[in-house]
């Protein structure tokens, strides 16, 4: 079901694109080459995984625009920028927006490969985390509104009696709800429940990116 991790190459210069694909293939990586950012975005699906290596200066959609669009895509991937020559403000901007690295086109091969591998690794982590979050989403999604109300109290560490009083229900009913939550989510301890619900941002907390 899942695709294998790939290096997605984007450059308007076909010659460079070919050379880099050739090298990465020989390094044992799977690559897909795109002549423009639009072409890449059009080919990405939720199951796409890997990383993107893009030319920063391209006609049409530039590298930065690609970066923004990629972040909003169904399958966000780490991006590594290549540029004709290092331009500090551009690199700062790229890094601030979470680019893996910012390399010159003629950077040493070792450095390039290291950065690509880091990006792939991060892509994998990202992919897995995304899978896990999707799974958690599914599990928490099965909870009824009443169960969610109960859970909200559980994650802040309240006792059953306190919850019953707060919700003006029977303590026994609270226990039944907690059993249902444990069954649906698959976690028993209230500490674990708290961690998971925080991870998917259930009660106003943004999902934290694993850095």
């Amino acid at each position: 079901m899942n695709e294998s991790p790939r290096v997605h190459l984007v450059d308007d210069d076909e010659s460079f694109l070919n050379a880099l694909s050739r090298l990465l293939r020989l390094e044992g990586l799977e690559t897909r080459a795109f002549i423009s950012a639009t072409a890449l975005l059009g080919s990405l699906g939720p199951a796409s995984r890997g990383c993107v290596v893009a030319d920063l200066e391209m006609p049409g959609m530039t590298g930065f625009e690609l970066q923004e669009r990629l972040a909003a895509a169904p399958a966000p991937m780490p991006i590594l920028f290549l540029t004709g020559y290092g331009d500090i403000p551009a690199s700062v901007r790229a890094m601030r927006h979470g680019a893996i690295d910012f390399l010159e086109k003629r950077a040493p091969k070792e450095e390039l490969m290291r950065s690509i591998r880091v990006a792939l690794e991060r892509g994998d982590q990202e992919f897995e985390r995304r899978g896990r979050l999707r799974d958690l989403d599914q599990r928490f999604g099965r909870l009824t509104p009443r169960e969610l109300e109960v859970l909200q109290h559980v994650v802040v560490g309240r006792m059953n009696k306190e919850i019953a009083a707060a919700l003006s229900i029977n303590e026994r009913t609270v226990k039944l709800h907690r059993t249902a939550i444990t069954r649906k989510v698959g976690v028993h301890s209230s500490a674990q429940l708290a961690t998971l619900s925080k991870e998917i941002g259930l009660f106003g907390n943004e999902p934290t990116l694993t850095a």
Binding site: R22, G84, K105
Partner: protein, 612 residues
Amino acid sequence: MSYVTILWSGAAAAALLLGIVHATVWLLNRQAWSNLALAVVALSLSGIGITELGMMVSQSPEEWGEWARWCHLPLFFHIVAIVVFVRLYLGAGRRWLMWTIIGIRTAIVIANFSSPLNFNFDSITSVARMHFLGEEITVVGQGVVSHWQWLATLASALLAIFVLDAAITLWRQRTKDARRRALFVGGGILLFLVLATVSTQLVIWGIAVMPMLITPPFLISLVAMAYEMTRDTLRAGRLAAELLESQNRLELAANAAGLGLGVWDARTLQFWATQRSRGLFGFEPDEQIDVDSVAGRIHREDFPRVREALISSIGTRARFQVQFRVCTPQSATRWLASHGDVVVDPHGRLTMIRGVIRDVSEQKQTQEEAEELRRELTHAGRVTMLGQLASALAHELSQPLGAILRNAEAAEMLLSTPSPDLVELRAIVADILKDDQRAGDVIERLRALLKRRQMQFSPLSVETLVKDANTLLRADAAARHVALECCAGDALPMVAGDRVHLSQVLINLILNGMDAINESASSRRRITVAARNVEDTSVEIAVVDSGTGIAADRLPRIFEPFYTTKANGMGMGLSVSRTIVEAHGGRLWAENDVDGGAIFRLTLPTLQGSAS
């Protein structure tokens, strides 16, 4: 007192002297035909006076008849000369009358010398003596008048008509001078001609016993003619003085204006030149100058041009205008501008060259300095622009170099395997060669841009021009988040132009557009470069940006040198651009787009358009 002898001898002597004077004038100036005619009138009158005196002092009828016969000879010359004088000096008189009179007078002279006595009398039987002016003189007593006498009367009448007709013609010209001449010369001749004719007829027909009286009246008419001629001489003298004065004035004005005048007479091979002209050519004030010495001062490279100008002027009769350098021994080379005309005789031979020369060294120098400055500025503009282009060029180079590097690394890896894939290796090497060529092209383009040089016009496609700019700026535009769209159809006609300079103009306009977009902070970031055909005579290239346009008060000034709105701008870009476009015979101007941005339009004449 014997007045007759005194008067007639005196008259003959006076006429002789006057004749000699005018004959001398004619000898000195062979063009003065009127003077020759007058000299003949005077000299012949002197002859008439002597023969008349001879008649009066003769002792026998034969002697009288002999003097009368000889009198016809000077009389012939006298009348012919009067007729010629009237034609020449008064410029009037009928030609057929003139020839008729001359013909009759010739016949009379021939008849005169072939008759036994003379033309007027077949025979004279007696002479009489009478007292006249205190002296006893001989007059005709009795004789037989010739049958042909009427011919002489006719000749005299025709002469009177001829002179009268000429005088009337002249009178009708209505100028003061013509009327005075008509009255003085025409009237004088006519009056005394009638007097002389009448007295002669009276004597011949024996109506009155009196001497022939031709000399006194003719002497008076001669004086009238001589008086007019003298006036002419006086007027010539006055004109000469005026001419000298006007020449002095002209020279004064010419000197004040820094002009030198010069005339070369092709017949005498003499040069006349003002001091200023001599100075400009580096000649001493009293130095002899001729064609060779003047030609020797003209710069060897410019001499063919000067000669060409003169030859073409002789051919077309048009004025010549030529600039050339002269090398004088005293000072450095100077630039002279000369214009003037040539005088050619009816046979197409050169008779004279006259011209004005002016020292234009300073203008030439200023002109050259301006040209140099323009070159400098173009160069400076290019250097400034190159700074802006540096990133674009670096990017341009990094593409092929990056590709070469990655290909080489791939090849290296392939070679380290036990059985390298030769097909792949070959593909890699081919790619490397191709990219190396690309890198070389970029360097070539950079060198062309940097090179300071004169414009070189060659047939150029507008499509290439737009493509060049697009290639150079594509990356730069992308880095600045500007969409650069270039559309130039390949159906556009060719233009004559300098590829490097025109690329520079286009690049400059596009870079300006990007700056304008950056300042505008607008969400639309787009530059369109479009070329189109304008009536087949020129091609228009429009650079449209999505900036905020140009403020109305700035619009007329943006093409001025050193006018800039940019903090780090030199203000030379548009000024140099316009200079370049205008050097191509085109135009460059700016206007505001209705959508808010600015449009820079430049037109270039097409090859056909500029050829016609």
